[in-house]
Symmetry: C2
Subunit: 350 residues, 2 copies
Amino acid sequence: MADREAQEERGKMKGIRELAEHLDISIGTVSRALNGKPDVNEETRKRVLEAAESLGYVANQSGRALRKGATGVIGFMMQTGTEITGQGDTFFMSVFDGVQTVFARHKLDLVALLCSSEEDPNDYLKRVVARGFADGIILSATRRHDARFELLAKRKIPFITLGRSLTDVGQPWLDLDFEGMAEASIDRLVARGHTNIAITRPHDDMNLGYVFEDQCRATLARHGLRLDERHVFRSTPNEAGGYQIARELSALQNRPTAIVLINEAIAVGLYRGLVEAGVKPGRDLAIIGRQSPQSEFLSPRLTSFSLSLRDLGIALAETLLGTMPAFAHVYPAKPAQLLWPMALVPGESD
Amino acid sequence: MADREAQEERGKMKGIRELAEHLDISIGTVSRALNGKPDVNEETRKRVLEAAESLGYVANQSGRALRKGATGVIGFMMQTGTEITGQGDTFFMSVFDGVQTVFARHKLDLVALLCSSEEDPNDYLKRVVARGFADGIILSATRRHDARFELLAKRKIPFITLGRSLTDVGQPWLDLDFEGMAEASIDRLVARGHTNIAITRPHDDMNLGYVFEDQCRATLARHGLRLDERHVFRSTPNEAGGYQIARELSALQNRPTAIVLINEAIAVGLYRGLVEAGVKPGRDLAIIGRQSPQSEFLSPRLTSFSLSLRDLGIALAETLLGTMPAFAHVYPAKPAQLLWPMALVPGESD
DNA sequence: TTGGCTTCCGTAAACGTTTACGATACTATG
DNA sequence: CATAGTATCGTAAACGTTTACGGAAGCCAA
């Protein structure tokens, strides 16, 4: 026991070879024992497992991946330096948590592939994916035209997207039901007598902006109303963006009486900006937004759409695995392209 | 040209071998050409580079890492499902952005190692690190007693921590200057006449809670004051935690007249809870906190401590690389254990 | 012409695993 | 006792790179 610790201390434990000769067993048997293969004596397996534990041996990732042709890693691509949701780690961390409960069952590891804001996302993906870094990819923050879809499809890398794009290549996707949100919001506001309704959308090419605006427009049309071009506010998806919207909106002569916010974080800045401009949220302007950790602490409480991000993560993972040959038998074919419903949580802001 | 594309389409581009025989050059020369080694004809190199580009060849990560003994990947460990700062992706995304500007210069990739909330962080680290997944590690959310430090030190993995711990093993670290924040906050509040001051700290074993409380206590003592045990509020580091604090605090008969918040997100819930309890922030209770994307949109504007997260990320990366033999020549020895200063941004809340 | 340099390139051996295959010893069956 | 079958293990060949080493030219000076 003492020499074992000494051996570990000295860091002599290089690889499976040292472990094998320490046990006086062939390297092949050690590998089989560790990997739970059937043709190995149970007592031998126990010895190997114990030795590996006490010597702190863990199979080298590169060697294993090289031989097996799979890394056991799924990558979730995100861009740093930019604010995707403006909502906080809570958003992605919750999704991740759901994803991992599924992955854990298959000894898969989830890592976030962090694309620098200074590198082209397509180049990054090409680099990291072609390198065989991950066995599968999850894409988020999808854009109207997203070349990443075609790239992954061409390389035949299993992937799923959290969000849609015009460049759909038949891959599985999950997306929040912005159509449903738009329709329910407009219907609700119209039923409450609003006819002059504004909306927000991201300032950039995020796909959800188009989906949302189109559906808002369609639903308004169903009510015989139309969306004033000047009432479509483009902003960064964060608090500052909301503040900016408040300033623009309150300066309008034909001010809308209601607004639907597509992003979570906007509400915080919007509230502040409105108050400063003498426009009282909920009384002078009806507001419907997206639920976030902050939204329920706004005053008046934000009427918002909520969803279980953890469940979304679970569905995301299961759907992805369903498309990967090695796991497909566990996850029978589900609808591979799915709109994720959101529930309206009434507050005091509309 | 046409057959090149066809070849890429057919996905025949397996590895460097195919690339080599397509060029009718030896595999060794191709490798040298791609890696910028000196002993290769410039015209040959150009041919190789062009072919690699047009055929979409990228060196396989596993093979390369196996041979070189290095992965070119640095891991930033974080736990999912839990809220570290409660502040949002903005916090880590900004830090990441700084880290990456440094890493990009050395063709290093940053990935976030996501530890599930259901797995023990130490086990996770052991698994992922011993596997040789990353060449270096960045640890955050350090705990009072953090076994991860010893683990990495024993394995001789280069690492740096964003945060301190009692289990310091002499590794480099960066940490926010909570001592400075505590001192400046208390001094400021005392100068404004407050004698009954409360503080917050995380509900769990995060190291910063101890550092912060100790310094607050010391500074108060310097002023001849003491910290009432019932005025040390433990909470989750998010909005809900702040709300809870507001409820507890406003129910106290001996209510403090000022409070210093160690976490960012707390302020949002605190404000709301105070208002509901009829306690007006800034008038009935002086508040000093940490700057966040939301803090400046609170009303009254939060007096808070700010810092450049991007610069912090840069320092983090440079210090880490300074300890790695392969890069140390670029980053001469800096102070490897450094308190990162924060600046007080006066608001209206104190 | 010879010898030594330089430039360029091919050969082959690693790197640490996993796994197909074959070998051995033992058990059961006739 | 012979044979087939089973349980267990060792051997060696991959996986895709990088790189130490050596060899083949070409050049220049003596």
